[in-house]
């Protein structure tokens, strides 16, 4: 159908449209009009991607000078491929409707082997790739830095975007890294010696090229041609390269000294935590390394590797890592912390020192994106509470909205189980998680559900260790044997290949009618990347509240930083983080309106307002007082009732073109979007 979204002609490749899709496009268009950023939450399965693509493509056609490019970032390869497929569908619809030949160039980078040639990316109207191509400065500098300012950037499935940002800026250095760097440095030294004998002019030329390159970069940045790079600080573009690292030999010597220093720092027996300035002060006192040459390290190494015509840069990944660390630690005095741990907490007898250089501020990595591109859309099925993302990513959105799923039938049924039939509270709280009664009640819940839910059940635990322990005690108590009378059991393992096979077998068992249970882990690969549509997931059970492991020093430092910089209280952040993962887990089973499923929150703490209130609106609105703090028996009764209802009902909530033309209807649609 052809839609009129506030005066914009939008081709939508379906005969009907969900009301929330219309509403979503409306908000999106307003964001583009304002040339600002937006945060939009809409449940998965309501056609978010096609709404985004339809509207932005239409906008590009209507205002080719205002928006020149769409950069669509998603997280996983299957998701990227889905976007490409939807785009293809839209393009086919365009050619069918307009009779024109497709004049839109779309480009997808869906894996490293597809890494496209640089000029193509500049000409494409639509680029679909993974977050890393934009957020990881190492890759962004190669692929994305020249993308036009007048681009619309979409981060889909963006509920974890802060972690992606942090990961791309954090560095871990172990003894192995240092040994490999040492070897790298030696190779460099030998290569330099060889070249010096055969082609001394080349090395002389090198310095000139380095300066030239920096000058160019400076010009480009000032004239806004390039997106800025957080690893290439502004300062070094204006300053002269320090003498201590000017020639290739000097630079190699400098790196050697730096490596020796790091080696010495790893020889410790107790944990050290310090800030970047403290680290710089220490390095200056101990080995007289100044801040300024450190800042040039990353760029200096790149230039040298280019000059020496090194074919396989991957061999030099260790020294590249060290040079990136040097630049980052000397550039940012805030937002990072250095933690040196002599051993893993679990194994205090085995020395395994690691230097963690941890980014605590996700806004550092994403800042260039917000600054460069006129509209950045952060969207996902679960982004609640909506206001926290602008705060931790440090940007000011023009639109913040959450859309609910309009449903002709209530196809999701969230229930909070708080007690066993023996009235013992059910919770994964640290103090009681080893409690025999809690584990047994969790087991009974699984057993009861396995008897009444058809086909597939997915259950998530708060952590892998917790799952292992519970599975072991369920095994001892014979609970799993009884569950096996109803369904086959498959369990996620730390090994991705093993888990993939378990997943495939799980689906096979759901498919052939035997029914199966998948035991899995929140924050794991399954919870983040695998959908359980229709009979592959008729119920999701979330055992406990998936809080992150709070004893980690890095996390503690990050919480402190959030409190000091963004005035976000530790508990608020931890709860937000736990709830977004819980929402992701339970949302895995509902992938559309024709789907249906139970969402069992098995922890009494979910009933509290501070937890419940952080669930996405589309889940929250189905949580009534009658579905809180239930016993196992009550849960079974309500579930049976729900499943019976679902089996013989089907309804649609669709709008036709005519309906969309009525003024009255449009007003009502506007109410679907819940302005935060």
């Amino acid at each position: 159908m052809k839609l009129n979204i506030e005066g914009l002609l939008v081709y939508f490749p379906y005969d009907y449209i969900y009301p929330e899709q219309y509403s979503y496009m409306l908000e999106l268009k307003r964001t583009l009009d304002a040339k600002g950023h937006g945060v939009l939450e809409m449940p998965s399965g309501t056609g978010k991607t096609i709404s985004l693509l339809s509207l932005i493509v239409a906008y590009q056609r209507e205002y080719p000078l205002e928006v020149t490019k769409l950069i669509y970032c998603s997280r996983t390869v299957p998701e990227i491929e889905k976007v490409v497929e939807e785009l293809r569908k839209l393009m086919e619809f365009y050619s069918k409707e307009t009779g024109e030949k497709n004049n839109i160039l779309a480009l997808a980078l869906s894996s490293r082997k597809n890494l496209c040639v640089h000029p193509e990316i500049l000409h494409a109207n639509i680029i679909v790739y993974s977050y890393h191509y934009l957020l990881d400065p190492k890759i962004a500098d190669l692929v994305s830095k020249e993308l036009s300012k007048k681009s619309v950037v979409v981060f889909d499935e963006a509920h974890n975007i802060d972690n992606v940002c942090i990961d791309s800026m954090s560095v871990n250095i172990t003894r192995r890294t240092l040994d490999r760097s040492q070897a790298n440095v030696e190779t460099l030294q030998n290569t330099i010696l060889k070249i010096k004998e055969t082609d001394a002019a080349k090395l002389k030329e090198e310095y000139r090229r380095l300066v030239e390159g920096l000058k160019e970069a400076n010009v480009a940045r000032e004239t806004d041609i390039y997106m800025s790079n957080p690893v290439l600080p502004d300062e070094i573009l204006q300053e002269a390269v320090p003498g201590s690292i000017r020639t290739a030999e000097h630079f190699v010597g400098f790196m050697k000294r730096f490596l020796e220093y790091l080696k010495a720092r790893l020889r410790i027996h107790h944990v050290v935590q310090e800030s970047a300035p403290q680290f710089l002060k220490d390095i200056f006192e101990k080995v007289c390394i100044d801040r300024k040459p450190l800042r040039f390290c990353a760029e200096r190494l790149r230039s040298l590797l280019r000059t020496l015509e090194i074919a396989d840069i991957a061999d030099f990944s260790a020294i590249t890592l060290i040079s990136n660390f040097a630049t980052l630690v000397s550039t940012y005095s805030k937002g990072f912390t250095i933690i040196i741990e002599p051993f893993e907490d679990r194994t205090p007898t085995i020395a395994n020192p690691v230097l963690h250089f941890s980014c605590m501020d996700p806004s550092i990595a994403i800042k260039p994106v917000f600054e460069r591109f006129q509209s950045v859309i952060i969207t996902s099925g679960t982004l609640s509470p909506l206001d926290i993302y602008p705060r931790i990513l440090d940007f000011r959105p023009v639109t913040v909205a959450s859309f609910t799923m309009t449903l002709a039938r209530t196809c999701l049924c969230p229930l909070v189980v708080g007690r066993g039939n023996d009235q013992v509270a059910m919770t994964s709280k640290f103090e009681t998680r080893e409690d025999f009664a809690v584990i047994r009640n969790y087991g009974n819940l699984l057993l009861e559900m396995s008897a009444i839910v058809p086909d597939g059940i997915v259950a998530f635990f708060t952590s892998y260790t917790y799952m292992e322990n519970i599975v072991a005690s369920w095994y001892e108590q014979g609970i799993l044997e009884n569950v096996q009378r109803n369904k086959l059991i498959f369990i996620e393992t730390p090994d991705a290949a093993e888990t993939s096979m378990a997943l495939e077998k799980y689906q096979e068992a759901c498919e052939n009618g035997r029914g199966a249970i998948l035991l899995s882990v929140a924050r794991g690969k399954v919870s983040e990347g695998i959908d359980f549509v229709h009979h592959f997931g008729r119920a999701v059970i979330m055992f406990g509240v998936p809080y992150v492991y709070t004893q980690s020093r890095i996390l503690k430092a990050r919480l402190e930083y959030l409190r000091d910089q963004f005035q976000i209280r530790e508990n608020d952040f931890l709860t937000f983080d736990a709830m977004r993962h819980a929402a992701q887990c339970v949302g895995r089973a509902i992938r559309g309106k024709t789907d249906y499923g139970l969402m069992i929150f098995a922890d009494k703490r979910y009933a509290r307002a501070d937890k419940r209130g952080k669930l996405p609106r589309w889940i929250q609105e189905h949580l009534t007082d009658g579905s809180l703090n239930l016993t196992i028996d009550e849960t079974v009764q309500l579930s049976k009732h729900f499943l019976r209802q679902m089996e013989d009902q089907l309804g649609l909530s669709l709008l036709t073109l005519e309906q969309l033309q009525s003024e009255d209807m449009l007003q009502k649609i506007a109410q679907i979007a819940h302005q935060a």
């Binding site: 890294t177 077998k505 669709l654």
Partner: protein
């Protein structure tokens, strides 16, 4: 006196039957027993009539052998020769073991089939009781009508799908303490078959060791004692014959994992496009996966998890009738040579594309071709958008459907509670019996043979009369009871 020409295969003296001493004869086609001093058999069973034999457990004072017939009757034989009782019994048992299977095939298939039908179908069984046992119609007539169905069934049952394996079959052999510090496992042939089908490695071991190296009993005793059967499997000792099975299982699992998954949508390995390079990222949450740092308990826990995955996979494979893994890894070799390994994605894109297209399709957003949906004209469409109206509507429907809140007081009570269960049952029996008679009645039309005419005018009428009388009697009885 039995035919003298029969060949006698085995004679066992001093066998008691019903507390009477006598002699047991195993002949070519039957087994017979005659009391001491008399030259006739009081017990004689054709092998074809025998369903199975059972023996008393070792160590029991009485050494017995039981013959179970297809009719359900059984005959107990007590070997009472003190010095050779056990040997006698085993000789008889072994011979029977060889003879019975030969006759099993020759056994009256029809009878067995009838038996099976009656056992499997309680309604039919009741009907049989009501009509045949009460002599409303004869057994032949009852079956005459069924047999045609039976034959059709039979042709179907030849390629009937194999029965799957219960995932919990190991749970069914829970050990029971025998009261003197030992454990007893109850094994049935079904469970043994399940074990063999699920764990081919065990079957192989069985073939290798039984009966040359050990008896069947010894084999299963060892099986249950072995760590292979128990828990975590990490402590399989060297002398344990099943340690090799565990290794084979492990190998099989590995080869399956190595082959990778066919469905690209569940392949976690290719999920991430560009993971961070080594050394980057904040691995604060990632647990260490290296085995060296694991405690014994953690190792045992992860072994349990692996075992569950393996067990479920094998049960699934056994149920779908295909071999899950070749124990010697052959399957993996052949399939990796056909070029369809994970690396070459030459074959993958079509599957993947179809899967993806399937996922992104919103079928409800398409106008249906052919049949048009009836638009629901709602007066208050605004409440539809908020979802409240339909929720109310669906709640109302649910409440009014059987089992719903509103129905509990009315309809449900009318059926379930007002009429007692036994009355419902009796009524149902009468109803099905009457239905069956009617079926007989109508099957006589068109009346084109003499037999049918006779049937109609002759005893069918009597049958109806009889059925009516039965119903009437029941009715009166109920009335009497009520008043």
């Amino acid at each position: 006196m039995a035919a003298l020409s029969e060949e006698v295969l085995l004679v066992v003296k001093r066998v008691r039957q019903r507390k009477q001493d006598g002699t047991l004869y195993l002949m070519a086609e039957r087994i017979a027993w005659g009391p001491e001093g008399k030259d006739r058999f009081t017990v004689s069973h054709l092998y074809a009539d025998i369903r199975c034999q059972k023996i008393s457990p070792d160590g029991k004072a009485k050494i017995q052998l039981q013959l179970v017939l297809h009719t359900g009757e059984s005959t107990n034989l007590h070997f009472s020769n003190e010095s050779t009782a056990l040997k006698d019994r085993d000789a008889a048992k072994d011979l029977l073991q060889q003879l019975l299977p030969k006759f099993k095939k020759r056994a009256n298939k029809e009878l067995e089939e009838k038996n099976r039908m009656l056992q499997e179908d309680p309604v039919l069984f009741q009907l049989y009781k009501d009509l045949v046992v009460c002599q409303v119609i004869s057994a032949e007539e009852f079956w005459a009508n069924r047999l045609s169905i039976n034959n059709v069934d039979h042709s179907l049952s030849n390629n009937k799908q194999e029965v799957g394996i219960s995932a919990a079959f190991l749970a069914d052999i829970r050990p029971q303490t025998d009261g003197c510090n030992g454990l007893r496992y109850n094994l049935t042939s079904d469970i043994i078959e399940s074990i063999f089908r699920t764990y081919p490695a065990v079957k192989q071991k069985y073939g290798e060791n039984v009966p040359h190296n050990m008896t069947e009993k010894e084999f299963w005793t060892r099986f249950f004692q072995s760590h292979y059967f128990h828990r975590d499997r990490i402590n399989t000792g060297l002398q344990d014959i099943f340690s090799e099975c565990a290794k084979q299982d492990e190998k099989g699992l590995k080869s399956m994992v190595f082959q990778g998954v066919k469905n690209p949508m569940v392949d976690l390995l290719s999920l991430e496009d560009k993971s961070l390079d080594e050394g980057y990222g904040s691995n604060s949450t990632a647990p260490s996966t290296s085995n060296t740092n694991k405690t014994v308990k953690e190792n045992s826990n992860s072994a349990i998890i692996k075992r569950f995955n393996h067990h479920s996979t094998m049960v699934l494979a056994a149920g779908s009738g295909k071999k899950a893994d070749a124990p010697n890894g052959q399957a993996c070799e052949t399939s990796s040579t056909d070029g369809n390994s994970r690396d070459s994605d030459f074959f993958q894109p079509p599957i993947k594309k179809v899967k993806i297209q399937d996922v992104i399709e919103y079928e409800d957003l398409h106008r249906e071709n052919g049949k048009k949906t009836v638009a629901l004209n709602l007066k208050k469409s605004d409440s539809v958008l908020s979802g409240s109206a339909l929720c109310t509507a669906s709640c109302a429907i649910a409440a009014l459907s059987p089992g719903g809140v509103l129905m509990q007081a009315l309809a449900q009570q009318a059926i379930n509670q007002m009429v007692p269960n036994d009355v419902q049952g009796e009524l149902k029996h009468l109803y099905t019996a009457a239905g069956e008679l009617l079926r007989h009645f109508w099957s006589c039309f068109p009346v084109n043979t003499l037999f049918l005419e006779e049937k109609l005018t002759g005893h069918l009428e009597d049958m109806f009369q009889m059925a009516y009388n039965k119903f009437h009697a029941w009715q009166t009885r109920r009335m009497m009871r009520k008043t």
